[in-house]
C-alpha cells in the first residue's frame, strides 16, 4: 500500500468517526449522550498524558494536578465574573494548569523512569493537600459550585449550553486538540521526543538539549490536561478536590495502557473502554466495579501491553 493511499484511508476514517460523534447526541438515548461527552473529555485528558507516556516515555502519575487546576482555574473565572464567560474560564484554566505545569516540569524532568513517576505523584498530592485544606478559597472538601457559562462566539452565537451544543463544543475542542497534538508529534519537536523515548543518551549525544525538550513536553501535556479540566468544569458546574487526588492520575494511566500508548487515539478509546467496563460491571458490582476492572487492567499490562489499538500504532502515526 502506498503511503499516500494509507493516509487517504486514515483521513476517511477520521472524518467518519468525527461525523459519527457529531450525530451521536441526536440519535443516542438520553443516558448515552452524556456518556459520550464525558468520554471525550476524559479522552482529551488521556491524550494529553500520552504525549509523555507514549511519545516521550515518561509515565506521569500526576496528571490529576493539571486537570484539577484547570477545573479550579475555570471555577475562579466563572465565580468572579458575572455573567460567567466561557473564554475567560478557558483562559484562567489554562493559566492555572500552565503555572502548575511549569513548576512540576522544572523539578520532575531532572529525573527519569520510576523517579519521574513518583515525583509527579508527589507533586499532585501537594496540590491536593493545598486545595483540600485551603477551605476559604477552594471550598475545601466540598469544592466549589458555579453557574455554567453561555456558549458565546462573537458574531455567531450567544446562547446557554444545551446538551447538544455542549457536546458539539466539546467535540470541536477535542478534535482540534487531537489534530494539533498529532501535528506536534509529527513535527521535528515530536520526533525528538520519540527519540528520547527510544534512546535518551543517544539523543543527548546527537546534541539535543534533552531537558529542555522534556520541560516543554510536560508543559504542553499539562496545558491540554488543564483544557480537559475546564471542559469538565463547564459540563458539571463544580470543582472538587477529589479530581486532584492521585487516583485520577492512575485512571489516566489506565486509559493509556488499555487503549494503546503512543497513538493519541488509543487513550480516548481506552477511556471509552474503561467507562463501558464501569457501566457494565456496575450492574452487578455496584461501586466495587474497580475489582474486575483492576483485574482486567493488570491482565492487559501483562498480556497486551500495546493496548487495544496497539496493532494500529504505525498507521495512526503515519
Amino acid at each position: 500500500m502506498s503511503p499516500r493511499h494509507s493516509s487517504t484511508g486514515y483521513w476517511i476514517g477520521f472524518a467518519l468517526i468525527v461525523a459519527a460523534l457529531a450525530v451521536a447526541p441526536l440519535v443516542l438515548p438520553e443516558f448515552w449522550r452524556r456518556f459520550v461527552t464525558e468520554i471525550l473529555i476524559w479522552g482529551l485528558l488521556a491524550m494529553s498524558s500520552d504525549i509523555l507516556i507514549g511519545y516521550t516515555g515518561m509515565v506521569s502519575f500526576g496528571h490529576s494536578a493539571f486537570f484539577g487546576l484547570g477545573m479550579y482555574g475555570a471555577a475562579a473565572a466563572l465565580l468572579s465574573v458575572s455573567p460567567p464567560n466561557l473564554w475567560l474560564a478557558i483562559l484562567l484554566g489554562l493559566v492555572g494548569a500552565g503555572l502548575v505545569a511549569v513548576f512540576v516540569a522544572f523539578f520532575s524532568t531532572r529525573l527519569r523512569d520510576i523517579y519521574f513517576a513518583i515525583t509527579t505523584l508527589v507533586f499532585s498530592q501537594i496540590f491536593y493537600v493545598i486545595i483540600f485544606t485551603w477551605t476559604d478559597v477552594t471550598g475545601g472538601e466540598n469544592g466549589l459550585t458555579f453557574r455554567a457559562p453561555t456558549l458565546w462566539i462573537p458574531g455567531v452565537i450567544d446562547a446557554p449550553f444545551t446538551r447538544e451544543t455542549l457536546h458539539w463544543f466539546v467535540l470541536a475542542v477535542v478534535t482540534a486538540s487531537y489534530l494539533l497534538l498529532r501535528r506536534i508529534t509529527q513535527s521535528p519537536f515530536g520526533m525528538v521526543l520519540q527519540s528520547i523515548r527510544e534512546n535518551e543518551p543517544r539523543t543527548r549525544a546527537i546534541g539535543y538539549h534533552v531537558e529542555h525538550y522534556k520541560i516543554v513536553a510536560v508543559m504542553l501535556s499539562g496545558l491540554f490536561a488543564g483544557l480537559a479540566g475546564v471542559l469538565y468544569a463547564v459540563q458539571n458546574r463544580f470543582a472538587a478536590p477529589d479530581f486532584v487526588f492521585f487516583l485520577i492520575s492512575g485512571e489516566v494511566v489506565i486509559f493509556n495502557v488499555m487503549g494503546g500508548m503512543g497513538t493519541l487515539v488509543g487513550p480516548v478509546v481506552g477511556a471509552g473502554f474503561f467507562f463501558l467496563l464501569r457501566e457494565g460491571f456496575s450492574r452487578f458490582w455496584t461501586e466495587y466495579y474497580l475489582i474486575p476492572v483492576g483485574v482486567i487492567f493488570t491482565l492487559m499490562v501483562i498480556f497486551l501491553p500495546q493496548g487495544i489499538l496497539g496493532f494500529a500504532r504505525r498507521r495512526l502515526n503515519s
Partner: protein, 289 residues
C-alpha cells in the same frame, strides 16, 4: 517560644511513627532493590495486614498470635501476587511493574471496601500501661511498637547478612544471571523476597492498627509516605530508608506544632523534592562519581 517538653514529646512521637514507617519502607525498598519492582500495592498489603489482624484477633483473642497469623496470611498472598502478576514481567521495563501493582492495588482496596465495609475497625492494644512524660501520660505500647519494628528490621538485616538464604538474596541482587548459574533458584528467591516484604507490611499494619483504626483507605497515606522515604533514603538502600523514615516523621512531627497534621505532609513532600534536586541518589549514600 516553643516549650522544651513539647519539642521532646514530638521527638519521641517522630521516632515512634518513624519506626513504623521504616518497617513499611524497608519491605518496599527490599522488593525494589532485589527485583526492580516498584510495589504500588504495598500500602494495600499494609491495610490488608491490619484487617487480617482484626479478624485473627477476634478469633484468637491474642494480639501476638494475630500479628504472626496476619504476617503469614499476607506473605502467602504476596507470594501468589508475585507468581501470577510479576513473574511474567521479569526483564521488562520496571515501569510496567508500577502499572501492574497499581492494578492490584485497586483490586485489593476495593475488595477490602466490599468485604469489610466502610466503617473503620479497631484493634485493641495488647497492653494499656502508661508512663508520665511531662504533662502527658505516654502509652508504653507506642514505645513497644518502635522497639518491635526495630527488632524486625534488625532480624531482616542479620538474615540478609548471615543466613544462607539471605546470601542467596544478596547474590540475586548483584547478578541475576550469575546467581542462576550457581544454582540459586532465582524465580523462587524473587517470590520469597516479595513474601517477606508483604509480611513486613502486614506486621506494620497490625502494629499501627491500634493507633489509628483500620479502614480500606489507610494504605493510601502510607504508600505515599513510604515512596517518599524510599526515594529520600535512596532506592534499594535499607539503612538509608530507616534513617529517612525517622527524618521524615520527625519533620512532620515538628511541622505539626505549627500547622495541622494534614498540612504537615507538605513538609515531607518538600523534603523529597529538595533531595531529588540536590542528592538524586538519596540523602544517606555517598554521591556516585
Amino acid at each position: 517560644m516553643i516549650p522544651f517538653e513539647l519539642i521532646l514529646i514530638q521527638i519521641i512521637n517522630g521516632i515512634v511513627s518513624g519506626m513504623i514507617l521504616a518497617l513499611v519502607a524497608s519491605g518496599l525498598t527490599l522488593i525494589f532493590g532485589i527485583m526492580d519492582v516498584v510495589n504500588f500495592a504495598h500500602g494495600d498489603l499494609f491495610m490488608l495486614g491490619a484487617y487480617m489482624g482484626v479478624i485473627t484477633l477476634a478469633a484468637t483473642g491474642n494480639f501476638w498470635v494475630a500479628l504472626a497469623a496476619s504476617c503469614l496470611a499476607v506473605a502467602a498472598l504476596g507470594a501468589v501476587i508475585q507468581m501470577t502478576a510479576l513473574r511474567p514481567l521479569l526483564g521488562r521495563d520496571p515501569l510496567t511493574t508500577i502499572l501492574a501493582t497499581f492494578g492490584i492495588s485497586l483490586v485489593i482496596q476495593n475488595a477490602a471496601l466490599w468485604y469489610f465495609g466502610p466503617v473503620a475497625r479497631k484493634i485493641n492494644e495488647p497492653f494499656t500501661g502508661q508512663f508520665p512524660l511531662f504533662h502527658l501520660q505516654y502509652p508504653w505500647y507506642r514505645i513497644a511498637i518502635a522497639v518491635l519494628s526495630a527488632a524486625i528490621i534488625g532480624a531482616l538485616y542479620l538474615f540478609l547478612k548471615y543466613g544462607t538464604y539471605g546470601i542467596w538474596i544478596r547474590a540475586t541482587t548483584q547478578d541475576r544471571v550469575m546467581a542462576s548459574a550457581m544454582g540459586i533458584p532465582v524465580p523462587w528467591v524473587h517470590t520469597a523476597v516479595f513474601a517477606i516484604g508483604a509480611a513486613m507490611a502486614a506486621a506494620s499494619g497490625v502494629l499501627f492498627g491500634p493507633l489509628v483504626g483500620v479502614s480500606h483507605a489507610m494504605g493510601l497515606d502510607v504508600i505515599l509516605r513510604a515512596f517518599i522515604v524510599v526515594v529520600v533514603g535512596g532506592m534499594g538502600n535499607l539503612g538509608g530508608s530507616i534513617l529517612a523514615a525517622i527524618f521524615v516523621s520527625m519533620l512532620e512531627a515538628f511541622a505539626a506544632i505549627w500547622v495541622s497534621p494534614a498540612q504537615a505532609v507538605i513538609f515531607s513532600f518538600m523534603a523529597l523534592i529538595l533531595t531529588l534536586l540536590f542528592r538524586p541518589t538519596g540523602l544517606f549514600v555517598p554521591t556516585p562519581k
